[in-house]
Amino acid sequence: MTGLLLLIPIALGLGMFGLAMFFWAMRDGQFEDLDGAANRILIDDEDGDGEKKP
C-alpha cells in the first residue's frame, strides 16, 4: 500500500509530463512541416565545400 502511494503519483506525473510535452510541441509548431524536416537533412551546409563527393 505504501508503495502505491509513491508509484501512482509517479505514473500520473510521467503521463502529465508527456501530455505537457505534446502540448508544447503543438504550440511550438513542431508538426507544421513534417515533409520539410525529412527533406532538410539533404541540404548541404552553405559554407561547406559542396564539391566533396563520396
Binding site: M1, L4, M26, D33, G36, A37, N39, L42, I43
Partner: protein, 711 residues
Amino acid sequence: MNASAPIKTASTHEPSGDAVDTRFTVPGMRCAGCIAKIERGLSKIDGVEAARVNFSAKRVAVHHHPALDDAVLVDALRKLGFEAQPVLANPLAKDDQETRQLLRALAVAGFGMMNIMLLSVSVWSGAGGVTRDLFHWLSALIALPVVAYSGRPFFSSALMALRYRRTNMDVPISIGVLLATALSVYETFIGGEHAYFDGAVMLLFFLLAGRALDATMRGRTRDGIGALLGRMGRSASVVQPDGSTRQTKVDDIQPGMMMIVAAGEALAADGVVEQGFGSIDNSMLTGESTPEPVSIGSTVHAGATNLFGPIHVRVTAVRDETAIAEIARLMDEAGQSRSRYVRIADRASRLYAPAVHSLAALAFVGWMIAGAGWHQSLVIAIAVLIITCPCAMGLAVPAAQVVASNTLIKHGLLVKDGSALERLAEVDVAIFDKTGTLTLGEPRVDVADLSETDRSIALALSQTSRHPISRGITKSLLAAGVSPSVLKNVSETPGSGIAGECAGTPVFLGRPADAGEQMEVELRVGEEGSRLALSDPLRTDVAETIDELRGCNIDAAILSGDASQAVAQVATELGLDAQGSFEPRDKLAEIERIKSEGHLPLMVGDGLNDGPALAAAHASIAPGTASDASQQAADAVFIGERLMPVALAIRVARSTMRIVRQNFTFAIGYNVLAVPLALAGLVTPLIAAVAMSLSSLVVVANSLRLSRSIR
C-alpha cells in the same frame, strides 16, 4: 537540429525590431534543393532578415524590413525560378484551430484512458476493499476533468443538433458518456463494485481519433489547394484627383475611378480601357488560353490578367455588378443542392440512434418489470448504451477515407473532404470541359524541326516573357531538354514579340509580320526565319482515361464553351458525344437536366464558365491550372498534365465505399453479438473495454487494407 533553426541571413544590415512577416505560396517547390535555393536566395536580399520554407504547405515565410515591398520578393523568387503569390496573414487559421483543438482533446483523452486503465486492470484482477475504493476515487479524479475537456466537441455538436430538433451521431455518444460517468461517480460514492470510467474515457478516445483523422485529412488537402489559390486581383492602383496613385482595396473602388493596371496584374473591377494597349489573359473567365488584344475603348472584366505594359482602365462596374459576380451568384445557387447531401455516417446514425435509445429504455423497463430494482436496471441500461456506442462506427468512415485520400495525394489528386469521396463514388456520368481540361489549356510548339542553336535561342528569348504563349514555348523547350543560350539587350514589345542579340546576331521571337488565322510564332536568327505552329494539345492519356471510366460504367461527354466545330473535332478523335458554344448558364441547365433524368453527373472543368456546372454537379473535379473559383467549387483538384487521376479518383472512391460498407457491416455484426450480452446484464466494465477496443482495431485494420488494394 538544423531542421528547426531558422536560417539567418549573412547580410550586414542591423536587425530591426519592427520587421514584418510576409507569406508567399510557392507551388513549384519539389525537393530539398528548392528549399535551400529559396531560403538562401531570399536571405541574400537586403532587408530580408530570415526566410523559412514550409515544405508541406508549399509556403515561404519571409521576415523582412517593412520598407521592403512584396513585389520585390515575388520578383526575387521568380528570378530563382519559382512562381510565387503573397498570401493573406493566415486564411486557414480557423480550420487549423479546429484540428488542433481535436488533437489536444485526443491527447488528453489518451492520457486519461491509459491512467484509468492502469487502475482498472488491478480492480478487474481482484483488488478489493479499500484499494478498490481508492482506485475508483483516483479514476474519478482523472476521468471528470478528462471527460469535461475531451467531450466538448461531442457535447456542443449534440446540443446544436438537439436545439434544431434533430439527432446525429453525437447525441447517443454524449448521453452514453455522460450517463456512464454519472453512474460511475455514484457507484464510487456508495463504494460499489463496478465503475465505468474506463469505458467512458476510452469511448471518447476512439471517437476523437476518428474525428481528428477526418479533420487532418481536410487540413492536408486544403493546404495543397491553398497553395494553388490566390491569383485574383484584390486591390488596384487608383489615380487620385491630384494625379498620384494609391493602392485601393477592391471594396473601396467606385465606378468612374481610373485604375492603372500594370503588366502581370489582375483586374479588380470591370471597365473600359482609356489609355494604353496590349493584351489580356481572359482564361480565368473563359478558360480560353489565347490572349485577347485590347486597345482604347475595349471592355475588360475583373479577373482578367493584363499581360503587357500598363493600361488605364475607367471602372464601369464593381463588386456585385461585375461579370465575375454574376457567375459567382449562379455558382452559389447551384451549390445549394450539394449542401443538402447527407453523409453516410449521418444516414446510418439516423437509424442507429433511435434504435440504441429505445433498446436502452426497453432494457431498463424490462428489468424493472422483472423486479431487479431501479439501481440494477439502470446499470444494465447504461451498459447497453456503452456497448452499443458507435465506437467502430465513428472510425468506420474516417479511417477508410483518410487512407484513400492519402493514397490519392500521392497520385496527384487532392480530395477536399470525406463527403466529396462519398459523392465521387456514386457518379454514373462524366461531363468534360474541353479547353484546359481535356487539353492542357496552354499553347505548345513543335520544336522537332529546329536546330540545336535555334532551340537555345528560342528558349533564352521566351523565358524572359510572362506572355502565356512564351510560357508555353518555354515549357515545350524545357521538356525537350534544351538549355538557353546567353543573350544581350533583350527587350519585349507588346503585341509583337521579344528581340535580343546573340553573339552579335539580332534574334527575334514573336508574331509573324503576315500573321494569318493559323496560330504561329516566328523565330528569326539574323536573316533566317522559321515558323513554329502553336497548338493546344490533348493531355496524353485522355483516351486511356475515358476507357478506364467506361470500365467503371461511366459514360463520358464533352460540354464546351468553344466553337462547336473545334469541339466536334476532339469529340470524333475520342469517340465521345459533344456539344459546343455553351454559355455558363447553358452548362448549368444541362447538368440540371442530367440530374433530373436520375443520373448523378461528375463535372470536370477548369474555367470560371464551368463554375456553376461544377457547383451543381453531384461531384466535380478541376485541374490545378483552373481558376480559383472553379477550384473552390470543385470537390477535388488534380495536379499535373495527366488526366488519369480523374479515373483513379472514381476507382478509389468506389473501393473506399466498399471498405466503409464492410466496416459498417462489421460494426452492426458486433452489436448483434454484444447487445444480447448487455441486455442480459452480463456486461461488466472489463467486457465493455475489451469489446470496444477489439471492434475499433478490426475496423482500422480493415481500412488499412485499402492502401494495399490501390497500387
